[in-house]
């Protein structure tokens, strides 16, 4: 770190931005950079490509040549095969209800708490904020056994949507998103409405929420990924096949049924593709929302 002490006077090209400097570094460096990034992209994307290839192959071909399949060997039969064992429509619907329930609950709790934490002074505000931070520090898995005892054993919510949804309601990320957003709005806006005699509920419903569409969208998208991809909790709560979300049903298929099939990997990968597509599409369409939020949430955590 000795370089920090050097006075800026001695810098040869005074304030050349780093981007420019890199560009001047020459084409060789850009080519090397591109090769590194390209190799990385290949490693990240190949499994997705291979998942789709495997899902479409009539005869599974694990040889290197099989990664570039013969169009004659492609079929949608595997989709029918998995659908015969795992009711795809039903499990997708379960995933959607589970995810939708978590999103609605998160939005209601998050908007109210986020507005209160950002714009209202009340006794206990610091306490609520601290409580929220605590959920980020403690691993969810510590709560796994007691939540199972409460929800499945005590309240009999096994094989119910409510049982799946409830533990995901204490979502600090959404509260954070709304708190940050409401803080970023000008204070005059709220003061003016108060002077005009609007109640806090009216301010929240008529002013704050209509203005926070971008924050709501971000919260919906970021919240969507969690329950859609979640395996452990719905796996613990649902034993009936008709209540299982797709991730759970597919996992059970992998561990039990698959071994008895002619082309188990074809069926598994067809199911995996169906499970992966909604989340990947949501990500690709709303990329911007993910990249910002996860970083800030990550740094705070």
């Amino acid at each position: 770190m000795t370089t920090t002490a050097r006075p800026p006077l001695q810098t040869a090209p005074p304030t050349a931005p780093r981007r420019r400097a890199t560009r001047e570094g020459g084409t060789l460096r850009r080519v090397v950079g591109l090769l590194v990034l390209g190799a990385g992209a290949l490693v990240f994307l190949f499994p997705f490509y291979y998942m789709i290839v495997g899902a479409l192959q009539r005869e599974p071909d694990p040889t290197p040549a099989g990664a570039f399949p013969d169009p004659g060997n492609l079929t949608l039969d595997n989709l029918a095969a998995i659908n015969a064992r795992v009711d795809l429509l039903r499990t997708l619907l379960n995933s959607a209800i589970f995810t939708g329930g978590v999103i609605v609950l998160t939005l209601v709790l998050g908007l109210l708490a986020g507005y209160a934490l950002a714009r209202l002074e009340f006794r206990g505000r610091g306490l609520v904020f601290g409580a929220m931070l605590l959920t980020l520090v403690l691993p969810f898995q510590l709560l796994m056994i007691p939540l199972y005892v409460m929800i499945v054993r005590t309240y009999g919510l096994a094989d119910s949507y409510l049982g799946m949804i409830l533990p995901f309601a204490v979502n600090a990320t959404a509260v954070f998103i709304f708190r940050q957003f409401f803080r970023s709005l000008p204070a005059d806006l709220f003061e003016a409405a108060r002077v005009d005699g609007a109640s806090e509920l009216q301010i929240l419903l008529r002013i704050a929420i209509p203005m926070s569409r971008p924050a709501i969208l971000t919260a919906v998208i970021v919240t969507f990924i969690g329950p859609w991809n979640e395996f452990l909790w719905p796996f613990l709560v649902t034993k009936q096949a008709s209540m299982q979300p797709l991730a759970v049903a597919l996992a059970n298929f992998i561990t039990t049924v698959a071994a008895s099939m002619a082309n188990p990997f074809g069926a598994i990968l067809a199911g995996a593709t169906v499970l992966a597509i909604p989340a990947v599409v949501v990500f690709l369409v709303f990329q911007r929302h993910f990249l910002q939020t996860d970083i800030s949430a990550g740094i705070k955590g």
Binding site: Y115, R123, L232, A272
Partner: protein, 306 residues
């Protein structure tokens, strides 16, 4: 104005107790209720259960669940499965942290320079992170199955027994899978950290005659130290909390529990075997250890910064 003033005076007692906007407490109440019911209460229950012989009985049956003091904890510290799970977390950290730090830093540095297709690369790295573990595990199961693509390429060099049923390789494959799946998140973390390094540092280093490599180690690496601390802390948390990977990828914890994780163990002991008190004790130990480790890391790294 006078109307507001009078309404202000009538509200005063309420405001004296609850602050300037008493309704704020009402707005925060739903979240607080859920927090108490689904966070604080189960947290207390976890600690309570861990001191009792808390097991599941048939529905409706009245059973005694006696207080057993520290017996569950004593059992946990003597349990070879718990030791194996702890070792596995260590193996995971040893593989995951260096790989993640090195790869994420290099990819983020490359992304940070003026390069075409940046958006594409950024998205490509991030896709595995937002895709369901169950879906991604399916592909890895196929890739690393005994007749799978990886072994086809390796030919005679393929391990026997194959990766996922090999007691030596089961855990490293899980670590590799997790590294692959989460790297995109860390690339972006480092990319954000790189924005905070002032350009003058690079310029000064250049004036001093430092080359690309020297600049990377003298300016970039120390400049992103906070992000690196976070990688270590998150790797500890992730390593301790695996479930899907050992359960699905290595068929319920690998041969002889070679890839068992603390959470998988809690599932097996607490829910499959019905010994919930013991599983809760493992959970408490796990949470305490994870928090102690992350606090230590933070303390050590932040002191060095000062």
């Amino acid at each position: 104005m006078s109307a507001i003033a009078t309404s202000g005076t009538t509200r005063r007692p309420l405001q004296r107790v609850f602050g300037r906007h008493p309704i704020g407490a009402l707005f925060a109440l739903p979240y607080a209720i859920f927090w108490v019911a689904l966070f604080a209460w189960p947290l207390g229950l976890a600690v309570y259960m861990s001191f009792y012989d808390y097991f599941f009985a048939a529905p409706g049956a009245e059973v005694e669940r006696p207080f057993v003091g520290l017996a569950n904890y004593v059992q946990a510290f003597g349990d070879p499965s718990v030791r194996r799970a702890a070792l596995n977390v260590a193996i995971f950290i040893l593989i995951n942290v260096p790989l993640t730090v090195a790869l994420a830093m290099v990819l983020a540095t490359a992304l940070n320079s003026a390069i075409p297709f940046r958006t594409f690369f950024r998205a490509a790295y991030y896709v595995p992170y937002v895709t369901a573990s169950v879906a991604m595990v399916s592909v890895w199961l196929w890739l690393f199955s005994s007749g799978g693509l990886v072994n086809q390429i390796l030919g005679a060099a393929a391990p026997d027994p194959s990766w996922l049923v090999n007691s030596f390789w089961a855990m490293p494959i899980i670590a590799l899978f997790a590294t692959w799946k989460q790297l995109g998140f860390y690339v972006l973390l480092y990319l954000a950290a790189l924005q905070n390094i002032p350009d003058t540092l690079y310029e000064a280093a250049m004036v001093d005659g430092a080359g690309v490599v020297r600049r990377f180690f003298a300016v970039t690496v120390p400049g992103v130290r906070q992000a690196t601390t976070l990688v270590v802390i998150l790797a500890t948390i992730v390593g301790a909390n695996f479930f899907t990977e050992p359960y699905l990828l290595t068929g319920g914890g690998g041969p002889n529990g070679a890839s068992v994780s603390p959470v998988l163990l809690m599932y097996q002991e607490g829910i499959e075997q019905g010994d919930a008190g013991y599983a809760a004790a493992i959970g408490v130990v796990l949470a305490v250890v994870v928090m102690a480790i992350s606090l230590t890391y933070r303390f050590v790294f932040e002191r060095e910064d000062a």
